[in-house]
Amino acid sequence: MSHTTVVAWLALRELWISFRLLLILVAFVAGGTVATFVARGASVTLEWLALGLAVAVALTGAMAAWSMAEERRSGRAGWLAARSVGRGSIVAGWLGAFGIAALAGLVAAATLVWVAVAPLLPQLTPAGYAAAMAAIGGWCVTVVASGLVVGIALPVPLAAAVVTGAIGAGVVVAAWSWSVPEVVPGAALPLLARAAEMPALAGPALRAAGMSLAMAAVMTVIARALLERVEL
């Protein structure tokens, strides 16, 4: 078993024991549930879903920042590093654990909303909807990687606050205009919110997914480079 797999498994267990895994799943599913049962009208449902997912992603990013900062503060990251576990493996393991948790919640929320809106919006194709969700998943990974960067650089409470504040501000701006260029990570949210009006969602959503994944890769590399330099 690779060191990355060991760290990812440890991180998943850590998230489970501390109820953080449950909180992530509940945040995503709650976003989907509220959009499905409270919002009126299919297009409004998608807008609410976009907002709900934004909140869940922000929460996940904040928890990633908090978790990484706590790993450093408590000496757990040092315990692994002193056993020749590469610092890159520590970053990749935590990214994987948060990614698995968030994607599981995202799939559940997306499925719930799809069942509700698909019969009402014939122009919304499964491929387009899936592409939008893939883009949001990519953005979520970007946010988690950014959270890890902040968690490596800052102490525990500050790290979580910075990520929550930054993403919260971004979501408010996006919700105000609902028009964000596709090259911006997180552009999938406005795309999803306007999906009912868009004849072809798959193309822009896939471009947004690509940009998000590219940004996630960049943030992961930064997180690794940063962790290599800090004291554990």
Partner: protein, 276 residues
């Protein structure tokens, strides 16, 4: 290592080889570093520690000794300098990673894990086979006196002391040739801490950075004073006693002032071993 109670954590190198006259003459170096620089805490430290030495490191300021231990353990990156541990240049698990262990002031143990889980994880990371791992885990638990009941309960139920014992057991489970300690076992009662740190094995090198050298009486054969700009003293503990100086930061500082040049001759292997 408890002789008498059976060999504890033995290595594959026969004892007879280590006790030969040629080995004593060769005085292999367990820890060698030169020109180590760490963001102002160390500015070019050079140190050579022979196999089997029990070395107490005292820092002036205290962060200097901690910085050296943490650099050797791979927790801090040195901005310059070279290190060689257990005869190897490679810090990976295929290099000295398997032969060196570290225990610091923070146990770094996840409180929801049981001591046995922690030790299993440590042996997994070392790549030990299952039967070998089981043997080593049993010995490490016995040395740290973690009883079978406690070994199966989450560490959080045993408080800081159990977490620190577990961390020590996890450090010992790989039978390290070099053990790096940084103010370890703070929550363990002094007499028990002394017993835990009196690790047998003539070829095991133990280096401990301490802010409170008074607590380390009877554990070490040599003492070193580390300053940011380099090593101010490396002397047998007996010199401190013969000078009538106490085992304290002030006493060690006074000895360093009496001995003009740092890092006296490297002691013979048998001398270091006898100090155990």
């Amino acid at each position: 290592m408890a002789r008498g109670g059976g060999a504890f954590l033995t290595s594959s190198t026969p004892d007879a080889l280590w006790s030969t006259a040629s080995a004593r003459r060769l005085r292999p170096t367990a820890v060698g570093c030169s020109g180590i620089r760490v963001d102002g805490r160390l500015t070019g430290l050079t140190l050579s520690v022979p196999v089997g030495m029990r070395l107490l490191l005292v820092g002036d300021p205290p962060t200097a000794a901690s910085a050296l231990i943490r650099v050797l353990a791979g927790l801090v990156r040195a901005s310059a300098g070279r290190m060689r541990l257990a005869g190897l240049d490679d810090p990976s698990i295929d290099g000295w990673g398997r032969r060196v262990a570290y225990l610091g002031p923070r146990a770094g143990i996840r409180p929801w894990m049981t001591p046995r889980e922690v030790l299993s994880l440590a042996t997994d990371l070392l790549g030990l086979s299952d039967p070998d791992a089981e043997r080593r885990i049993a010995r490490a638990l016995a040395w740290t006196r973690i009883d079978p009941g406690a070994a199966e309960r989450a560490v959080r139920h045993g408080g800081h002391a159990l977490a620190e014992r577990t961390a020590l057991a996890a450090a010992l489970v790989g039978d390290p040739e070099v053990l790096l300690l940084e103010d370890p076992l703070r929550s363990v009662a002094l007499h028990e801490r002394t017993r835990l740190l009196r690790l047998p094995g003539p070829r095991r090198t133990v280096i401990l950075a301490s802010r409170y050298p008074e607590r380390e009486a009877g554990l070490f054969s040599h003492v070193a004073l580390v300053r940011a700009r380099g090593l101010a003293l490396l002397a047998p503990m007996a010199e401190l006693e013969s000078a009538g100086l106490p085992l304290s930061a002030d006493g060690i500082g006074a000895l360093a002032r009496r001995i003009p040049r740092a890092s006296g001759p490297v002691p013979p292997l048998h001398e270091a071993a006898r100090a155990q």
